[in-house]
Amino acid sequence: MANAKLLQGNEACVFGALAAGVRFFAGYPITPSTEIANIFARELPKLGGKFMQMEDEIASMGAVIGASCTGVKAITATSGPGFSLKQENIGFAAEAEIPCVIIDVMRYGPSTGLPTKSSQGDFMQARWGTHGDHAIIVIAPYTAREAYRETGRAVNMSERYRIPVIILMDEILGHLRERVEFKEEDVVTVVDRKGPAPGVPYLPFEDTDDLIPPFAGFGDGYRYHITGLIHDKTGFPTNDPETINQVMRRMNGKLDRYRDEIVKVKYVDVDDADILIIAFGSVARAAEEVVRSMKKAGKRVGLLRPVTLWPFPDKEIRKAASGKKAVIVPEMNLGQMVREVERAVAGEAPIYPLNKIDGELITPHEISDLIKEIL
């Protein structure tokens, strides 16, 4: 950990996952996430872990869930088209509360789109890609160093809350290599899923006080049923309206209960700012560059960077944005996060979207030009 090294964003995800105890990867080759599969294939056997190249994206997601059912920490990686294909099984993981992590290295779409160009077009899909009411966590790092740490956190959150966690990378962050010097705060502490309490009958989907049912791995001596059908606390399908309502509210309620632990936001010069930029991922790097340059020029611009995208940090944003002269939301899509920002800010400040959809990163110039226009 001590020495500085050149680390690629995609590579950082792999080492963060391994540090958190991931020992199973299943995936399918897709640009621009392929390096993740390549490096897992090289590293997992060294640790006694297993790598599988499956026949398709759907099978990869299925195998990850299957592995996790035995108690092994499991992960997959993909990009837009593959992320779309995985959605049904992501819904299964959400409904059956199977811990797993999905890395989506975003490329421009829809469809085959621009395989080698960047995008932030999966912001909404990451939250609402699978059908139905479901709990899901989405996080977005902005440097290779943070990709390491946040992948570790993603694995830990998934294990702790029994919620699938999506990591939204993008082509730029996935492919760039940068100097990383790990510090004390980058150390990934391993969190394991909670097991059944000894001496009491095991209810795999028990309505516990913490809303998180204990998990028993297949083969650990607890024979029980896992299904994607809406099920009661015993794990078996139910059509009883009262039970359905209760179990689905518990499952989705985990996000509310643990919201403040899950939500992570980074602030740069926000308090004194006249203008607030809200950006995530690679775009936040351009935005922070603007904050730095503007400061030198005596202009007060701040950045609020959501590291957790879902649950959306609405109250943090509302607090930071209230009374600002302008809130700028640059995104590499036609305006997805800005809708959530509008909901959060609720008229407390004027909001300016800045959307770029040509596969290229929004530049500091483009943001500063908009600021100059507003001022």
Binding site: L6, P115, L176, R177, R179, R285, E289, R292
Partner: protein
């Protein structure tokens, strides 16, 4: 000079090893404890296509990870340098491979016979990329010779290390003293 920021763009043909050059340059900067970002524009072509890689070396932390106006550009392929000239930062340099056929070159454009050096002097045409690394470092002093040599080693087979060291030295020699006027380093990607 304040905080230095070098923005280097390498233009080549897939398979020439220019992406490796950008990674070596980046690793050399890491060895020196400097901040660095390296990447490339990925095309669907695995071999033979057009490839652009880039490196940012800075004493300050690097946020915006892209290059809009490089102060150092090197074209290894046969592409016309005039296409790239407008991108060049004020008082930056553009190095082109070869010396004949270019006619009179603008002040900021330098022709260095990189392929010829690899072919005639190193007698290993495959080392042209390492010659180009030497040329860049010789002209700019962006990273130290020692850091570059340390970074080269893991990227070449052990038995080819000596010949690559020779290639690097010949590149350095060709680059040193070639500058006609100093290169302006970049203050910030916004200015």
């Amino acid at each position: 000079m304040g905080k230095k920021r070098w923005e280097v763009r390498l233009i080549g043909t897939g398979g020439q090893g220019m992406v490796t050059v950008s990674i070596i340059l980046a690793e050399a900067a890491v060895h020196e404890g400097r901040n660095v970002v390296q990447s490339q524009n990925y095309g669907p072509e695995v071999r033979g296509g057009h490839s652009t890689s880039y490196v940012i070396v800075s004493d300050d932390s690097i946020l915006y990870p892209k290059i809009d106006s490089p102060n150092v550009m090197l074209i290894m392929s046969s592409r016309d340098y005039r296409t790239y000239l407008p991108d060049l930062a004020q008082d930056g340099i553009l190095i082109i491979n070869g010396e004949a056929d270019h006619g009179a070159l603008p002040d900021r454009v330098y022709a260095v016979p990189i392929t010829d050096i690899a072919h005639d002097k190193v007698r290993k045409p495959i080392t042209a990329n390492i010659v180009s690394l030497g040329v860049i470092i010789g002209m700019t002093g962006m990273v130290s010779e020692e850091a570059a040599l340390e970074a080269i080693q893991p990227h070449v087979p052990a038995k080819a290390l000596e010949v690559n060291k020779t290639a690097f030295a010949l590149g350095l020699e060709a680059g040193r003293g070639a500058l006609k006027k100093p290169i302006a380093v970049i203050d910030s990607p916004l200015v």
